[in-house]
């Protein structure tokens, strides 16, 4: 780089000025890289053209943070050029459009704030948010995962929500992978798994928030790119949702001290993970749930006292983004005095204070007349606080440090970054022929599938997360002595109402066509929700993809977004919030495109919620939906290491009607037990129901709607839209009438003895004792 572009303005405090006016393209890129800004050439040029003066390091860092993929979602808001024309923003064109066109009156606030908000009852709304924390978890698994949970809880606090539940979905490499198969810079999956699970459990347990929904996936592809999704759900009185920051209000920072941890977390999340990533440990934040627990108390007290005019959490970009966003959304400006920030250590440079992502901090806007009462609450709860500055009408973000102005930027420019353009190529995926003989011994196939890490018991993890704290959990993630799985969690958040919140997830990264992969994930989230009694479902999207600057990655992202629009519309389920994590690339390659759909439904009376365990011998068993030869990417083929065949597709015209009828049957009280069919198909679902019960199941495959003549496909196909239902004996006629004209068949009975008996398509019987099922499933 040419000399003279960067000049030290002051040694103590350390401030440098960067003169972009004379900088050439190579210099601009060098500055972006050298300062860790992760800005592209067009973005650097936009800054260069805007300013007729040198910029301080604090100012340039502000652009780096605010314009990061993490903070502003530039890929989702940018233009995607395809062979058939340009797409003006994936978010606007697909995700938000579905919500806008559905126009549901119960959507209270969508894609606006830190979390999506939907009506709960007349006086309350539910807040929901799901985040990813992949890069930090790859470097420091415990801290990365714990701060992932901590961060998403603050998103709920940041809309004045009282957190009522958390969720986590985790994708790891195989725990038994050989060290020789790892490349430098990649930690062994077992190390990452242990740390992540402990981090998720520790933060939620310490905060006293039950973990009620989740999934764990193992695949070689995640060895280099661990995926950690953390969700949080909250409730608040509608009238407490206050966002009216006014000129003259004070910006008050509360909670943990600011230090050198979490510097450049967002820009780090907006680039690929390099081999020498260990050196980026400083980008990972340090968790302290004890402070956040006190913060939670304070937020709720300030809310109920109606003392503050606005709130937001400090996440990506630290003070720079929180203050800028609050001022920008209120059409105001702000002067921040960085001298007031309480620091963990000495010698922290002004730009570090400005962008540090130290945890457990919240920003309030407080009318000055309320400062005394507000600060008394903070002190009551043993929290440190400071006044950062006050809001004004300048529409500028200004920061001073030791009397010097270190930042002075117009918010309009800061919040309208140049739109970026990405190019997409369409990647066609065509089914390939499947070469697999039909096995003879169905029973041993079922046992071997149950012992697959992707199908087996999650009890060893789930029981380390408290799912009962707060005393409001109705349907638990694990059921009974054997810890079999329920399809969704149900929480009863209000003392004086029987209405429950139903939380579910859907994730199917192994179906190779991104369109159907997304469709199946969405439908699975709904199916899981409906299975326990949920309805009026809002959904959240979380994309985990590779580097969006590569055309094929954008191509598959585009296809997944198309499916999101199509199926959200078809099922009538609006997206209310979402987040994308791109740049998931490691020395072992790009992440498998992974879409998590989270469903948030309600149930009018939690006492009618349905669990998956069997209730009474003699009850009829019904199979809902059609089983097709859709095995590509299934747990069955993956456990055999076989590829090929066709993958599941979703037909909402049938699936939606089946779900509506099931809801009706649940409300009639004639559904005794229900389990959705997903990984491992009918075989896994029936086994899990037996594992969770004293009773057993008899299934006659020939009585189901099967468009296959192969027993293994009948048992292991992962066709969408299917449920296995125990109907209360004597209610068969009502049940069948409810499903008039739909693909529903009476396929078996609940047995007195704990066993799974299957009569196959050729009339042979296969018997699996509960003890054997349990042993395989638990991997004992």
């Amino acid at each position: 780089m040419r000399e003279g572009l960067i000049r030290r303005v002051s040694e103590d405090p350390p401030i440098v000025a960067v003169d972009l006016r004379e900088a050439e393209d190579a210099d601009l890129l060098e500055i972006s890289r050298g300062m860790g800004l992760a800005l592209s050439l067009p973005e650097m040029k936009a800054i260069k053209e805007k300013f007729g003066r040198p910029l301080t390091d604090v100012e340039l860092q502000t652009f780096g943070q605010t314009w990061s993929e993490h903070c502003i979602h530039k890929t989702f808001r940018g233009v995607v050029e395809t062979e058939s024309g340009a797409v003006e923003g994936l978010l606007k064109t697909y995700i938000a459009r579905a919500t806008r066109e559905l126009d549901r009156p119960w959507c209270f606030s969508v894609f606006e704030d830190n979390a999506g908000l939907v009506d709960f009852d007349n006086g309350h709304v539910i807040a929901a948010k799901v985040e990813t924390h992949n890069h930090p978890s790859a470097i420091e698994p415990f801290g990365g995962a714990a701060t992932g949970v901590g961060g998403v809880i603050r998103d709920i606090l940041g809309v004045w929500g009282e957190p009522i539940a958390v969720s986590d979905v985790l994708c790891f490499g195989p725990l038994d992978i050989g060290y020789s198969e790892l490349v430098p810079g990649i930690k062994h999956p077992r190390y990452i798994y242990k740390g992540v699970v402990a981090g998720v459990g520790s933060y939620g347990n310490n905060m006293g928030i039950p973990n009620v929904s989740g999934a764990i996936i193992f695949d070689r592809n995640y060895t280099g790119n661990v995926v950690v999704y953390c969700g949080c759900f909250g409730i608040l009185p509608k009238r407490s949702y206050i966002r009216q920051t006014m000129e003259g209000d004070l910006a008050v920072l509360v909670g943990g001290r600011t230090g050198r941890d979490g510097i450049h977390g967002v820009t780090f999340a907006s680039t690929d993970l390099p081999e020498e990533s260990e050196g980026l440990r400083s980008a990972v934040q340090i968790p302290n749930p004890l402070v956040e627990e006190r913060l939670r108390r304070a937020v709720i007290r300030v809310r109920d006292g109606r003392l503050a005019s606005g709130i937001t959490d400090l996440g990506g970009g630290g003070i720079s983004c929180a203050t800028g966003e609050m001022a920008s959304r209120s059409g105001l400006g702000l002067i921040v005095n960085l001298d007031n920030v309480k620091l963990k250590e000495g010698g922290v440079a002004p730009w570090e204070i400005w962008v540090s992502e130290s945890q457990e901090r919240m920003l309030f806007s407080v009318p000055s007349r309320n400062l005394e009462n507000t600060s008394r609450i903070f002190e009551d709860e043993e929290l440190e606080w400071c006044v950062l500055g006050s809001f004004n009408s300048t529409k500028r973000l200004k920061a001073t440090y030791r009397g010097a102005t270190v930042c002075d930027l117009g918010l309009d420019f800061l919040y309208s970054p140049p739109r970026i353009k990405r190019r997409a190529v369409r990647v066609e995926t065509a089914p390939r022929p499947l070469m697999l003989e039909e096995p003879e011994d169905l029973a041993s196939e079922i046992l071997s599938l149950l012992s697959d890490p992707n199908v087996g018991s999650r009890e060893g993890v789930v029981r380390t997360y408290d799912h009962e704290v707060r005393g409001a959990t109705v349907v638990k993630p694990v059921q009974g002595e054997s810890g079999s799985h329920n399809d969704a969690g149900v929480i009863k958040p209000l003392k004086d109402s029987w209405v429950g919140v139903v939380i579910s997830c859907g994730i199917n990264p192994f179906y190779p066509d991104p369109y159907w992969m997304a469709a199946c994930s969405l439908e699975e989230a709904l199916r899981n929700n409906v299975a326990v009694g949920g309805r009026r479902i809002a959904i959240l999207d979380n994309f985990v993809w590779g580097n969006p600057e590569r055309e094929d990655r954008i191509g598959s992202l585009l296809r997944a977004c198309e499916a999101c629009y199509d199926f959200a519309k078809a099922f009538g389920t609006p997206f209310i919030s979402g987040k994308d994590s791109l740049y998931n690339e490691s020395p072992m390659g790009p992440v498998r495109p992974t879409l998590l759909i989270t469903g948030v439904g309600i149930i009018p009376d939690v006492r009618k919620a349905v669990t998956s365990n069997l209730k009474a011998a003699g009850d009829p068993i019904y199979l809902l939906g059609t089983t097709k030869e859709e095995v590509c990417g299934s747990a069955y083929l993956r456990s055999k290491g076989v590829e090929g065949g066709d993958w599941p597709r979703v037909d909402p015209s049938v699936s939606k009607r089946v779900m509506n009828a099931l809801t009706k049957a649940i409300d009639l009280g004639i559904v005794a037990a229900c389990h959705d069919l997903s990984d491992g198909g009918l075989g896994a679902a029936a086994s899990e129901m037996v594992i969770g019960s004293e009773e057993g199941i008899f299934l006659d495959l020939g009585r189901g709607l099967m468009s296959t003549s192969r027993n293994d496909f009948a048992v292991f196909s992962e066709s969408a839209g299917r449920f296995l239902v125990e109907v209360r004996s004597g209610s068969e006629e009502t049940f069948e009438a409810t499903f008039e004209g739909l693909p529903v068949r009476h396929v078996g009975e609940v047995l007195r003895e704990g066993a799974l008996r299957i009569q196959d398509l050729k009339g042979r019987e296969h018997v699996l004792e509960k003890a054997d099922l349990l042993r395989s499933w638990r991997g004992d």
């Binding site: 004890l290 704290v469 005393g471 638990k476």
Partner: protein, 264 residues
């Protein structure tokens, strides 16, 4: 006494997180309850209450050892008032972290006077070395304590536990034998049949000596328990474990408290 005049104090400090649900349970039974931060508890204030609850959570992050920091703070801040409260025969209940606090403060099992000068037991790391959230069976042992007066000798209750440090170990074999001899083991972990778990996992979820889930002091007015009865109060909380219809089993423990207060 008239229940409408009685009041419960649910104490909290930083890291406490089960106070709200304990309050819901007590108020459901008609006992007015205040949730108070220990910092706000002025001298003498405790005498306004008939019941003091140390609820669950991770007080002060459970650094050092679960309950150790809060236990010491209790002694330095409110020791005299707490001693008087206990000597008056008022009720003190420690649930989960609250039990750990009472043990760390020497309130349970207690000494010759009222409190022991050093802890005489500990709630150590679970034998499984993991946090355990699961429903267990508790067997009433027929102790003479208000907390168990609604529970028959040998009757089982289904209640969840949620802890990483719940393994009751005593200072010496003598302390354990004295607890057993004086009938101060209130609940033991058991099998569904009501047989004591005899250490078998997961019926005994943490490896406690003698399957101990709850103990009381000499006079029976202080009880500590690892399981959470407030999470098994309403039938809808016990879906899959006896619910959703009718009350859940943990309610009996709170009803015992109410009976006692009404007889005062």
């Amino acid at each position: 006494m008239d229940l409408r005049k009685a009041r419960a104090c649910i104490l909290r400090v930083g890291g406490t997180n089960c106070d709200a649900e304990v309050r819901v349970a007590l108020e459901e039974l008609g006992l007015r309850s205040d949730v108070l931060h220990m910092n706000w508890l002025e001298k003498g204030r405790l005498s306004e209450y008939q019941l003091l609850v140390f609820p669950g959570g991770f007080s002060y992050g459970d650094y050092v050892r679960a309950g150790a920091v809060w236990g010491k703070k209790v002694l330095t801040r409110i020791r005299r008032d707490l001693e008087r409260f206990v000597e008056d025969g008022r009720l003190v209940m420690g649930i989960c972290n609250g039990f750990q606090v009472l043990v760390e403060a020497g309130v349970l099992p207690g000494g010759d006077g009222s409190f022991s000068t050093t802890p005489r037991a500990v709630l150590a790391n679970n034998k499984s070395a993991k946090y355990e959230c699961r429903w267990v069976f508790l067997r009433g042992e027929g102790s003479q304590t208000p907390f168990a007066r609604r529970v028959g000798n040998g009757e089982t209750l289904r209640v969840p536990v949620g802890h990483g440090e719940g393994r009751f170990l005593s200072e010496s074999e003598g302390v354990l034998q004295e607890l057993i001899r004086s009938n101060r083991v209130v609940f033991r972990y058991s099998r569904p049949s009501g047989e004591p778990a005899k250490g078998a996992y997961p019926f005994n979820p943490n490896g406690s000596s003698y399957d101990i889930a709850a103990i009381c002091n000499r006079d029976g007015n202080v009880m500590g328990m690892m399981p959470h009865p407030e999470r098994a109060f309403f039938g809808w909380q016990a879906v899959g474990y006896g619910g959703p219809q009718g009350p859940a089993d943990g309610r009996k423990i709170f009803e015992g408290i109410i009976d006692y207060i009404m007889e005062l």
